[in-house]
Amino acid sequence: MNASALPGPATNLQTWIAARAKWHPAEIVFWLGCLLPLLPASLLPGFLQKYWIFDSYLQLLSQIAITALFAISLDLILGYAGVVSLGHAAFFGLGAYAAGLIAKFWFTDPLLGLACAALLSGAIGFLASFVVLRFHGLALIMITLGLGQLLAEGANSATWLTGGADGLQGIRAGKIFGTVEFDIFGQTAYIYALMVAFLLFLLSRRITNSPFGLSLQGIRDNSRRMLAIGAPNQWHLRKVFTISAAMAGIAGALLTQTTQTCSLETLTFQRSADVLVILILGGVGRLYGAIAGTIIYMIARDFFSDVNPQFWYFWIGLLLIGVVSYMPNGLLGGLNWLLLKWRRA
């Protein structure tokens, strides 16, 4: 929890607000820790070397970075602005296909590709926001789901462009800054995905701490009152929807670029639902919740799906029931609560 839970007068609200945006040492440790897997095992003391498994998991780690970015993009609209979407994979898929098609037919520079994918999914997101934001409640859930499915079915039938069920073939790999190549161990891929995810995390952190981010939370908590203090709710929401769509597009583009493949799987309902589950597990409305949810979900899935994918969803289902019934703020929120209780005791 934050300082707001502590009693006592706030002598200086300026410092209090500034303190909320300050970096916590744990955050710095976490992000530095993300670099650890890049350490070659040979640098470690001998007895540790055989336990050093990270380098064989680089591919999974790239996936985690990408999915975390995707989860953060959903958190911006869901956790901060209160807009539920069951079709967010549409933007992920748009970005993925945009990056794939660009690399196949046009140019291979990854960063430029990312930028184009972001522009495209952002632009589509902006247009979609005019439709989507007219809805609330179940209708909102259904319209996002419907639009997402429309795009997925459309991509499925537009075989000439997307390759249909076979996926997009012939995506060329480019060099980052024209020099760094993607290696077969996935080291470059991981660094690349991590860096992009980190930069966009910084951006999201900035957004959530900005006056704009505060207004979004206001709309989430009470949109009627926002209107009564003269806030342009619809424009705020359109803006964050656009930003979120662009970020989801970048996440999708990263997946295409780091795997050199792009399939219909990027657009599926399953992906939209998974990222929602991730957010709920981690706790909505907190960026680290999105990250923690992703790490837990992806590692658990990697572990369980080797055993039996059916079982995997059984446990996810139980976890969802438990979290929703007993931990309204997600796993991270629940841990926080336990921690507070333990400290008070």
Partner: protein
């Protein structure tokens, strides 16, 4: 061309009646409690498995299993309502969605564990199989059975809602829950009964669906989307709405699959998005 139009209309209407039976319960409970119950089709799936098991393991006749499919789903829904749903009344749509999708995941995994992941074989009686041939047209007998069942159920539900005391309390609770409570209606009990009835109907729908669309462990997820489309297009809390929406969607899905199979379910989503853009609350929705 004319022959195929009749065929598509017939099959589509039968399919629509199936969707109606599957979804009408969800529409009414959503209208009453605003509870987004994504596990609705898990109850349908339960009904399906009850029917399959009774036929294949106990040798029951198909028709005799239907009441049990209804009862099993109704009973299961009451248990879940008491144990889990109750805590989330008045919470956000999202929380309700997530709880119930969790139940769906568990149900899907449970079904796969118990029954395996294969399509369940089912034997409907001889007199329900086969077709009638009238001139150039062929009509499936089972589909006629579906149409009759759907129409009878729709009529019974509408009459019950309009002319019985229970129906009046249900309508009051859907229209204005606070007012109904103020007038001394035990909304919680009415809701529980409606919920049981709706889930029971879903169970019946699940049993009826096997012959047409098959039954496997993923039924609870696959048909969830169709049911939600029916509810959101028809408008929550409206039996007529569900009936109209189910018909429209059944026929358009059938038409899409018949004439433009390459676009898959594209058409049904297009219809939904189009109708929602035109009327965000659905065809018959009031709120």
């Amino acid at each position: 061309m004319f022959t195929s139009i009749i065929g598509v209309l017939y099959d589509g209407f039968a399919y629509g009646m199936l969707l109606f039976v599957l979804s009408v319960g969800l529409s009414v409970t959503l209208g009453m409690m605003n509870f987004v119950n994504l596990a609705h089709c898990a109850f349908a799936m339960l009904g399906g498995y009850v029917t399959v098991s009774l036929i294949n393991l106990a040798g029951w006749p198909f028709l005799a299993t239907l009441p049990l499919a209804f009862l099993a789903a109704a009973a299961a829904s009451v248990v879940l309502e008491r144990a889990l749903y109750r805590n989330l009344y008045g919470k956000s749509d999202l929380d309700q969605c997530l709880l119930t999708i969790g139940i769906v995941f568990v149900a899907v995994a449970g079904a796969a564990y118990i029954f395996g992941t294969l399509q369940q074989p089912i034997k409907v009686p001889e007199w329900l199989r086969g077709t009638w041939v009238v001139g150039n047209f062929t009509f499936g007998v089972y589909r006629a059975f579906l149409i009759v069942t759907g129409l009878v159920l729709a009529a019974v539900l509408i009459l019950m809602l309009e002319y019985t005391r229970f129906g009046a309390t249900v309508r009051a609770a859907v229209d204005n829950q606070r007012m109904a409570r103020g007038l001394g209606v035990d909304v919680d009990r009415v809701f529980m009964l409606t919920f049981a009835l709706g889930s029971g109907l879903a169970g019946l729908g699940g049993a009826l669906a096997i012959e047409i669309v098959g039954l496997d462990h993923n039924f609870a997820l696959t048909y969830l989307i169709y049911v939600l489309i029916v509810v959101s297009v028809g408008g929550m809390g409206s039996i007529w709405g569900s009936f109209a929406a189910a018909t429209v969607l059944g026929i358009s899905d059938m038409a899409g699959k018949y004439w433009v199979p390459q676009i898959g379910s594209f058409l049904i989503y297009l219809v939904m998005v189009g109708i929602l853009m035109w009327r965000p609350l659905g065809l018959f929705g009031k709120r």
